[in-house]
């Protein structure tokens, strides 16, 4: 470090920042990861029974899907602000908000996945003497996994991106550093935290893709699947709008 350090020069990319503030960065990243991960896990635990319920009761299907869609439309800053008086200034505000957003994606995808199970597969399982529980967890759930995992991936990536808005209540993980860097005009901090946030999202997406591969080994083998894979990527249709705000 001879001459002016990049910290005093307020440069965008600064090795010294990484070295001197690594503890702060690690803490923020950890907070970011646990808030996003916890919310997706809770959302999955809530969405699964909700989707089963909506599938069984045809009448409730519209209201369940409609309500989650309305929740999804509420901007994140407003969602956190509305939850704040209920839950106080705490991490649960952010987690609850993210759970509500993830629910929309997950309920929709689980429902679609279960509906895509061929009736023949169900018939065959029943014929083999499968009870309702074994049918659900042994046949329907594995066949619904690709759709379910697509939902989990979108939910996780969105949750990581939206956690930054939690900086409003000081539980935004890397978002705290981003917003704090605006006040102090600290370029290196803003850029580093933003890049880390994107890297987290990409890493989560790849990790979940790997998990999906492990959970659905049959999709990887067979010439048909291999031929279809790039095509499916190509034609993968628009997911729900990026929930970025």
């Amino acid at each position: 470090m001879n001459g002016r350090s990049c910290l005093t020069a307020n440069e965008w990319i600064c090795g010294e920042y990484l070295r001197t503030r690594s503890q702060e960065l690690t803490d923020a990243t950890l907070q970011h990861v646990w808030i996003a991960a916890l919310s997706v896990v809770i959302a999955l635990l809530v969405a699964f029974p909700l989707a089963l319920f909506a599938r069984r009761r045809e009448r409730w299907r519209g209201p369940v899907l409609g309500l989650t869609t309305i929740l999804y439309t509420v901007p994140s800053l407003a969602m956190f602000a509305l939850l704040m008086p209920l839950l106080g200034v705490s991490a649960s505000v952010v987690v609850t908000g993210l759970v509500l957003y993830s629910l929309t994606l997950l309920v929709r995808n689980i429902l679609a996945g279960l509906e895509s199970v061929p009736e023949e597969a169900r018939e065959a399982a029943r014929g083999m003497g499968y009870g309702p529980l074994r049918l659900l967890f042994g046949v329907e759930l594995p066949l619904a996994l690709p759709a379910l995992m697509a939902g989990v991936r979108i939910a996780a990536v969105s949750a990581i991106s939206l956690t930054t808005v939690g900086a409003l209540v000081d539980y935004g993980g890397l978002g705290n550093l981003v917003l704090g860097g605006l006040d102090s005009y600290f370029k290196a901090q803003v850029l580093t935290a933003s890049v880390l946030c994107v890297l987290l999202a990409v890493a989560a997406d790849l990790l979940l893709l790997g998990v999906q591969g492990l959970l659905t080994p049959w999709a990887r083998t067979g010439a048909r699947a291999r031929r279809r894979w790039p095509v499916r990527l190509w034609r993968a249709a628009p997911g729900p709008a990026a929930k970025a705000g």
Binding site: T73, V74, A112, G151, L182, D205, A244
Partner: protein
């Protein structure tokens, strides 16, 4: 429940709405910013999507743009742009950030809407001697209308949501009411601001859904019963498509 009552009192107090920095001004700022950005987004995304969809080379691009948009946090981009030289240009960094995040949903939906027109119908139209422009205008556009409108709708909702985030970054709009309330520990103000933002977003969503229904060229045709579309798979549309 106390917070709700107090927020209601805040909302029904005329003094909170009037004057500079009042709710009317914030609402007008919010709507104006979102509207300008929506027009810009449509001007950029629609021609690009029509061309990419029509020529059939947009698929991979549209999906990748949409996925990338999801991974990048809006707040971070807003703050980053504020710190660049662009940040001294008044509203410009905000407009850039807003348009950037409204482009993916519109681009993706419109592109897929055009390119997924039934190949048999497209083939028949070609067989009837339609030119490329006629094909686009009279076949692919009407068939893709629902998805294009869904794209405009999610872009608009996205814009309203992103415009809220200019509050914490020092801009105007309804988000400013929320952050101002936070900074002064004024919970009723925070809740009132949040209610206004949520109401605006839902209103935009509902009115565009109504507009889509009214303008749909295929409205009088018998429809397939609505099914839940999976997100991120083929045929998945925006969540606003709920039954």
């Amino acid at each position: 429940m106390d917070a709700v009552v107090q927020a209601w009192t805040w909302l029904t107090t005329a003094a909170n709405w009037a004057g500079p920095g009042g709710a009317w001004q914030r609402l007008a700022e919010h709507v104006q910013l979102s509207l300008v950005c929506l027009v810009l987004t449509c001007l950029i995304a629609l021609p690009a999507a029509l061309w990419l969809g029509h020529t059939g080379r947009g698929g991979a691009l549209a999906v990748n743009v949409s996925n990338a948009g999801r991974a990048v946090p809006t707040l971070a981009v807003l703050v980053l742009l504020m710190l660049t030289p662009l940040g001294r240009q008044g509203e410009l960094p905000t407009v850039v950030a807003l348009v950037l995040f409204a482009l993916p949903p519109l681009l993706t939906n419109a592109c897929v809407g055009i390119s997924e027109a039934d190949p048999a119908v497209v083939e028949a139209a070609r067989g009837m001697g339609m030119s490329g422009a006629q094909l686009l205008w009279r076949v692919e556009l009407p068939l893709g209308f629902a998805l294009i409108m869904a794209g405009i709708r999610s872009a608009a909702v996205q814009l309203v949501a992103t415009a809220t985030l200019t509050g914490p970054v020092g801009g105007g709009g309804l988000g400013r009411i929320i952050t101002a309330g936070f900074n002064t520990y004024d919970t009723p103000k925070v809740v009132a601001g949040a209610v206004l933002v949520a109401a605006l977003a839902l209103l935009v969503e509902a009115s565009l859904a109504a507009a889509q229904w009214l303008c749909d060229p295929l409205r009088r045709r018998p429809r397939q019963p609505a099914r839940a579309n999976p997100a991120g798979t083929r045929g998945g549309a925006v969540p606003a498509e709920a039954a």
